[in-house]
Assembly symmetry: C2
Homo-oligomer: 361 residues x 2
DNA sequence: TAGAGCTCTCAAAGCGCTTTGGCTGACTGC
DNA sequence: GCAGTCAGCCAAAGCGCTTTGAGAGCTCTA
């Protein structure tokens, strides 16, 4: 393909394509300047006169010049993209929260021409993929979500020198790292405290997978609230399960069929709450008459707590907003505006609706 | 950065990094061969002797040689990635189905080191982004989802010469194109036919956004089934709305409060069906006693039709499987194994559960 | 035994950008 | 009037691959 003009397909597409795709060489030739100067002018280097710079930027705009990202990447090592290693596998389901997070990411990235590279990985061996991503320099930074305590991925990307941001927090790592998290402990502490104040003594927690720190923090919040009222959260009042409707149902059902069933349930997701409501109904019980229910709401546009048959009290934090913020911080890190290991923890709203009431007994 | 060894950070990371990242030059030097030969050997060109090829591949494996994708891309124009333009905007919500689709895509892509590039675009102006993606040659192919009739995106990528695959189908385009779709019309035809056979005469359809072809096909299917029983689907028995729980509720409620309410409802998504069930209950009606319900199930792991309070009859097609197949075909197109405008239409399962019964009247 | 025809290999030219290390000429200060 | 600055520009060397065009060595035919 030395000579493009000889390739009829390329010619055709060049004719049809409204953007003529000038390259730096052509542009500098038209301007009677060297590629160096044009490149510097465009990239804001100081050693170009203001007049030249203006001439260059004007011409660039006029001809729709866009630097070829592959070439730029090869030269600089910078990709202009952020990455995410997506754990997949036959028995691995991507969390529906991911889509909301993505909406947020897109909200920011859209206006900055920042693309996101999803690198699917075997969920049992994400390390290989992280290494590949780092070695290939395909992306300038990655974010890591759903961290576990002492998450190995975090140590790994840290070692690899790949800039990153964690959505959530790990625990027990011997170094600091940048993250964005919501105050899960605070949220569930508030929720449980409210239930306690309403006179509930037997409170249950239907939590997400307890391998993940968010679930650990939530449990801690509930425990702390109960403790300060002299109550405890016994193991038989806790469920840690994947956040599906079915698991919500099963968990609630098994809790409510105990000899001394809980009078209030805190639940880690709206989707599980659907199952809880179904279980309560199946057992001929009512909310909040027999059992109070409060759940965490990540703010899905397609499922809202106020539209449950009994409007659901929630701890609320928009995961979409988090996505946007993470994109913003990632962009800042890439361009060197953000450095160090800043952790950001967002407060969570407690929204009281009809699903909680004073304890019956 | 001419001299890497002078950069302490690079040195450090090279020491820590277990993969030494040899490049072609180094590798060919070790082998006492030219870069040309090594490159050809690795890429399966015929003009290399088998013995040399073996020597080369062995050495490559031993030293963990991985061609630098940026360099390869610059040289060949091939990126080894597939792209998706993600419509975003403050008032735009990404469909939760997307995550399931992604799981499927990942299932295939994972084992082929195929990455996915998401390019967020202003939902009101996706064209710019498509042009950018095509001009930058960031990806080798894209897929387009949720097509509308005569979808402009399809004409555009076709014109731009960007290889693509449509998930779904458009209508009224003056050229053929490759796609993968499910038989939406057939599915809803079967569903409606079953309802008719059960004696239902007033059947309603709660559909997705009728700007999209899937919704058009579904409506067509219902109409056809009714027509062959001498029935019609009047406008007041149709709702076309975004697929949220709330819209399911509103739609069902307004339908059931009509003077002559439907005795059966076909619904385009499980999420909307949640709202339908709530509406039915709110009105003091029962399923299937007062109203039969059948919905389309894209197979979410977190919400299953068999776990509705009354198990839901569905038309079922795994959107995850579609994702995997699309990745597979896209990969085939990239490597030239698939060509032309092959359309693939998957049949849909009709799964009967307790939510439908004979018409009361 | 010369020449044709292979097979295998190579040097070097791109791909389109960034960056290094000059170079030029005008302007300063003494 | 001269060395010393400095602003502004340039040529050329990369970045790490692929691909072209050639050539060396060998076998085979007439």
């Amino acid at each position: 393909m030395r000579d493009k003009s000889a390739d009829p397909a390329a010619l055709q597409s060049a004719l049809r394509n409204l953007e003529p795709a000038v390259n730096l060489k052509q542009l500098s030739h038209m301007l009677q300047l060297s590629q160096t100067t044009v490149s510097r002018a465009l990239n804001g280097y100081p050693e170009v006169s203001e007049e030249t710079r203006r001439r260059v930027t004007d011409a660039a705009k006029r001809h729709g010049y866009r630097p070829n990202p592959s070439a730029r990447r090869l030269a600089t090592g910078k990709a202009g993209m952020i990455g995410y290693v997506l754990p997949t596998g036959a028995s691995v389901d991507i969390d529906p929260h991911f889509v909301e997070f993505l909406s947020g990411l897109g909200d920011y990235a859209r206006s900055h021409e920042l693309d996101l590279v999803l690198s699917p990985a075997d969920a049992d061996d994400e390390e290989t993929t992280y290494r590949r991503v780092a070695a290939n320099k395909q992306v300038d930074a990655v974010y890591i979500s759903a961290p576990r305590p002492a998450d190995r991925r975090i140590s790994l990307v840290n070692q690899l020198g790949l800039p990153f941001l964690v959505h959530g927090r790990a625990e027990g790592l011997d170094f600091d790292y940048p993250f964005l998290d919501i105050d899960n402990e605070g949220a569930f502490h508030e929720a449980a405290r409210l239930l306690v104040q309403l006179g509930h003594k037997r409170i249950a927690l239907i939590n997400g997978d307890d391998g993940q720190t968010f679930a650990i923090f939530r449990e801690r919040g509930v425990r702390r609230a109960l403790a300060s009222a002299g109550l405890v959260l016994p193991p038989e009042k806790i469920r840690s399960v994947a956040m599906t409707e079915e698991n919500g149902y099963r968990s609630a059902r098994s809790l409510l069929e105990q000899p001394e069933p809980p009078t209030a349930i805190a639940c880690s997701s709206l989707i599980m709450a659907l199952g809880v409501v179904r279980a309560v109904r199946d057992l001929g019980l009512t909310i909040p008459g027999d059992v109070s229910l409060i759940a965490h709401d990540d703010v899905f546009p397609w499922l809202k707590p106020e539209h449950f048959s009994v409007p659901l009290s929630t701890t609320r934090s928009s995961i979409r907003a988090a996505g946007a913020r993470i994109a913003e911080r990632l962009a800042a890190r890439i361009s060197g505006l953000e450095e160090g290991a800043r952790g950001e923890i967002w407060p969570v709203d407690l929204v009281v609706r009809g699903s909680i009431a004073g304890a019956a007994g």
